[in-house]
Symmetry: D2
Subunit: 227 residues, 4 copies
């Protein structure tokens, strides 16, 4: 199956990231698709994902702060708003149904793989500019889109998860995010940006975040708090 | 007339800011209330205020990034969202009616008083923490509330402006923002926070931002691009 | 007289900054050269300059944090070190001789023009990347070099000031800083960087910082604390 | 053996960090002391430590940017200067003798445990204030001091390493850093700071950084690039 079309930067960065396949075809992901992922592992993932979403939202807030134009600000602000006012309350309710009350969710000890990934993204944003931040955010947003597009229609206990990320609403978000990245790159670096030295640094941001996403799945399958 | 009740920190900081009265009773403000403000000055203000709102929104985005809890993030994100998806489009339409097309608005050269104020607030946030940022943001949010509460019901060409900030919706935003500040302070520094050395630094942040707000009104009356 | 050669970026940015001449040929500067600057104005400048140097040093520290390579870090760190361990103690002694004791120096109320300039530079660095920060720092470092090169050898009470900035040590610092900027630009954006959209944004950073430097001299001649 | 006296905050934070013993008595550390650490593991550590030192230096540069007083800036700047102008050149020479040329050192792929630790520290500094940054930096500086004080005088291939960190110069740096932390806390939060809610957040910063230091030693013994 081909990769979904989320724009030019995604196509380039995806091809250059050594761990892209490890991430998008991870055993955890396969288990979501064929329904064989143990329920405990999924619960462990949900708890870590709650902590992840807090920091991921902070990173989109930082993107709004570092945006160059009103329309870039609006795009980042819309994602932030959806995350903290829709996604996270939904996540809290979902965890509640799965037997994890909000207080337990809040008290989740953050796994090292979670720390590594989220702080890498945030620090990329703080120490770099809007482009550094987008390159570090892209693997999560767009990788979930690619996984969802592949797994959509799966049966089993994780069908909802698969359909959420494979669904049209999320796929549109991925196309919009890809377009945001492409236009941000062109507006700053011009149409030939892939030829600039900066392109290698951005591709490396994407590749490192991809590696850390794979590490997040590793952690989700191996719930050792220090790992 | 007494100051509106926007909470404990506001009451303390307001009383300690030497320029609070210069800001809230500025000649520009008086002219909005009695309708004698020249239309040119108001247009000049609208243009600079557009540039101001861009940076003010960035500062609220940064507040969401630096927040300590989900509810602090939600509060900051809601303000950011209202600013970039409601206030700014409204501002653009208002300026359009006043004869300033969007392209001219975008091209507004930023006055030095505008630069001074917005960069002071943003830098307070970047170099400090959530509390530094809130203390620097407070004079604008809450001062407009105090001015609006006083001028509400004024007749004349600026009656809309006065009623917007004196209206219940904006007054509620001020009470909510005051409560956000008070709870953020207590959650970090405890109930006796006004006795800590840190309190003086935060009060100084508020006082400096107040001084720069007064400078913004000065600039609005004296449209010299370098001043 | 021609401008000194501090490299490629400086030559481009200088020519594009509308206020470069206002800054480098300001009445304050002329008064340093012909010795007619009132002593009070110079003392006022020294006090504000102390506050300026604190923030200027912070900006170079931030540059070290945002550098991309060890040699960029070493360059920024060397400037920071010289500022806080040599320049500032010297400045404190110089002010002491001029009758301003350290406590008075510390207590200097920061003029709005000083706030505007320093926070603009720091915020450029925090919200942007290493290049944004260098473009905002350049007018101060290199402008003093150009002024010093022109005024060096002047007689009168400010001969020391003129010779410090016109002297070989400071001129070498300017050439080194210009080379740091040029190599940082090439390493990230390639040799054709002046043709990229990003170049306009960087040139604008330089032009705005130049405008705020001119505003700093204005303030130095008109010691109104709010201005 | 008792812990060395590096001040009040260190004593409190150390006692509250669950992983302090795992870090300071790690098998890697024991191997340095008794000389049984395999040479390959030490070389692997040296390479990762080079990458670590780059980011650690950036964090001290950020501390200088976020400092509140000239003397805090001078303290942070002195550490930064020692790191980039003395420690790192020394490290490069040491690695060169061990058969790792500078180019190979530069090309070291950054282990995930390294990313996790350094980005956690830097992000703590960017999103928090000077105190957050010091609390996150402390476990490395002071833990090496405690380890060095214990292992000093060991024989074997790592005697130099042990004597460097156990030696008077490094021990004085630890006492100075502890004093810097204590005075920064008092200057902002007053003498009763351990009773404030903020104290728990700072202690948590220290504990998390300690956990990630232990993870760094784990990685040093298990050279899997993704781990």
């Amino acid at each position: 199956m081909n990769a979904p079309d989320y724009g030019r930067a995604f196509a380039l960065w995806r091809d250059a990231a050594p761990d892209w396949r490890s991430y998008t075809h991870h055993a955890f992901v396969a288990g979501l698709g064929d329904g064989r992922l143990p329920g405990d592992a999924f619960l462990h993932y949900l708890r870590q994902d709650y902590v992840f979403l807090i920091h991921f939202s902070r990173a989109w807030a930082l993107a709004a702060a570092k945006a160059g134009t009103l329309s870039e600000m609006q795009a980042a602000s819309a994602i932030l708003h959806a995350l903290v006012h829709v996604e996270m309350p939904l996540h809290i309710r979902l965890c509640g149904k799965a037997g994890i009350p909000p207080a337990a969710l809040e008290a989740t000890p953050e796994a090292a793989a979670n720390l590594a990934y989220t702080r890498y993204v945030l620090e990329a944003g703080y120490s770099g500019d809007f482009l550094d931040l987008l390159a570090a955010l892209a693997p999560c947003v767009l990788g979930y889109g690619e996984i969802g597009a592949r797994l959509s229609g799966s049966a089993g206990p994780y069908a909802d998860w698969c359909d959420t990320y494979g669904g049209e609403e999320y796929q549109q978000l991925c196309r919009d995010t890809g377009a945001l990245i492409d236009s941000a790159l062109e507006a700053r670096l011009g149409p030939e940006w892939p030829d600039l030295p900066r392109a290698a640094a951005l591709s490396d941001r994407f590749a490192t975040a991809t590696r850390l996403e794979a590490g997040f799945w590793d952690m989700a399958l191996r719930p050792d708090p220090r790992a």
